[in-house]
């Protein structure tokens, strides 16, 4: 259970750390950088998570780096998540109108100040709902660690079944765990959203 949560948090963190510079690059970068990022995102979004995990787990030893299955999962899912999160941030930043920056500059703010004080606070609000969504996706995808032999909650369930022979009950329990965590995530980030809510910023989207 802790392993599942650890995978989720590390993956999300890695995805976030990668996604921010990627989204900046995609918005403010030159043509070449933009093209590279577009390809990066396209590839990671087009290949099944499982395949990404296997490629990392079996691929890196070829260049002399051996990852534990846990690390391979976090890196694989983290890379995939970065491709999604960067789209979330990019969309959010782009949806803040250009005139906001112009108004900031007219007051004498630098580009950096305008970004930090004007664009970012708006973009983060817009990004929060899809980001929450990505959070729950990562939680669910952490179950794929099963395939690399990581003892996350699903595999743990399998071990218990080997002695107790109650697959239905055990797997339902596992499902309940995920469901409860998903609800907790949605509720608490939903509360953050409410706290930050501002008239004129009621963006709602259902994205998978």
């Amino acid at each position: 259970m802790w392993v599942t949560l650890q995978i989720t948090f590390f993956t999300l963190g890695l995805g976030l750390v990668l996604a921010l510079p990627i989204s900046f690059g995609q918005i403010y970068g030159n043509k070449l950088l933009k093209a590279i990022i577009a390809v990066y995102e396209k590839i990671l979004r087009s290949i099944p998570e499982l395949v990404i995990l296997f490629l990392i787990f079996y691929g890196f030893p070829r260049i002399g780096v051996r990852f534990s299955p846990f690390a391979a999962v976090v890196i694989g899912l983290g890379l995939r998540s970065s491709a999604y999160q960067s789209q979330v941030f990019r969309g959010a930043i782009n949806s803040v109108s250009k005139t906001q920056m112009r108004a900031a500059r007219s007051l004498g703010m630098s580009n950096f100040q305008g970004f930090v004080f004007i664009v970012l606070p708006q973009a983060l609000r817009i990004a929060l709902p899809p980001w929450t969504n990505e959070f729950t996706i990562v939680l669910k995808d952490s179950s794929l660690a099963y395939a690399l032999g990581v003892t996350e909650i699903l595999r743990q369930g399998g071990y218990i079944i080997a002695t107790k022979h109650e697959p239905m009950i055990i797997y339902l329990t596992v499902a309940v765990f995920y469901f409860v965590v998903t609800i907790v995530i949605n509720k608490s980030l939903g509360r953050v959203e409410k706290k930050l809510a501002i008239p004129g910023f009621d963006v709602k989207e259902t994205v998978r």
């Binding site: 296997f54 490629l55 079996y58 952490s142 099963y146 609800i183 994205v207």
Partner: protein, 223 residues
């Protein structure tokens, strides 16, 4: 590079067979999921308290748990209760239900984005509620949901890879089989990655062309 090429040359019938199963599973699940989705969405938007509650609970539970866990429940959980499903069938049932719940949510968004006056106008012509839903609301809602629906197809195409864990003979399973023979795990999965990439990009392209073709002015897509 040469190794990779050799794998493709030597094992293409196996890979093709796997891809065939993958496509088959995707298609069946997406269509079955579509039917499930319509029912759930209508129940959630227009149903009475009971149907609204029921469909909401189903949708939230399925969307709140991993697909892999759902597959395990179907494949490992059911046999002791006397229900034995083949890996292929168990996987398809799992995918269809899972996808149905996501599709229901897209559809719901789409239905709700159609203005309430459409319903009123239909009722004012003397249509029953059911007729209004079927004749007026759904045709518009379905058209708007097409992009979400094509996305869903791509998602399923990728997520069918989970079926190999319960033993369905799709592309990943074939890859594992090949790799366990020649021990070139990385190369084999690289080939598989390229296959998925090509297929996904191909379908993305086809869908975007189709979407342009069936677009109607004023009924822009909801994404």
């Amino acid at each position: 590079m040469e190794k990779i090429w050799n794998i493709a040359v030597k094992y293409w019938p196996k890979l093709l067979e796997g891809l065939g199963v993958t496509m088959e599973m995707t298609l069946i699940s997406v269509v079955a999921g579509f039917l499930i989705g319509i029912v759930l969405a209508i129940a959630r938007v227009y149903g009475n308290k009971f149907f609204y509650g029921l469909s909401t609970v189903i949708i939230e539970i399925i969307r709140g748990t991993p697909l892999l866990v759902q597959l395990f429940i179907l494949y490992y959980g059911l046999p002791p209760l006397g229900v034995n499903l083949s890996p292929f069938i168990a996987a398809i049932i799992g995918f269809a239900i899972n996808s149905g719940c996501y599709q229901a949510e897209y559809l719901r968004g789409s239905i709700q984005s159609i203005s309430g006056t459409q319903m009123k106008a239909a009722r004012s012509l003397g249509m029953s509620k059911t007729e209004a839903i079927m004749q007026i609301i759904m045709p518009q809602a379905l058209r708007r949901v097409i992009p979400a629906w094509t996305n869903e197809f791509i998602y399923l195409l990728k997520y069918t890879s989970l079926a190999y864990i319960v033993g369905a003979p799709e592309l990943m399973a074939q890859a594992k089989f090949i790799a366990s023979r020649n021990f070139q795990f990385f190369e084999v999965y690289l080939v598989v990655a390229v296959i998925y990439l090509v297929v996904v990009l191909l379908f993305t392209k086809i869908f975007s062309i189709l979407e342009k073709k069936v677009e109607i002015p004023g009924l822009e897509w909801v994404r």
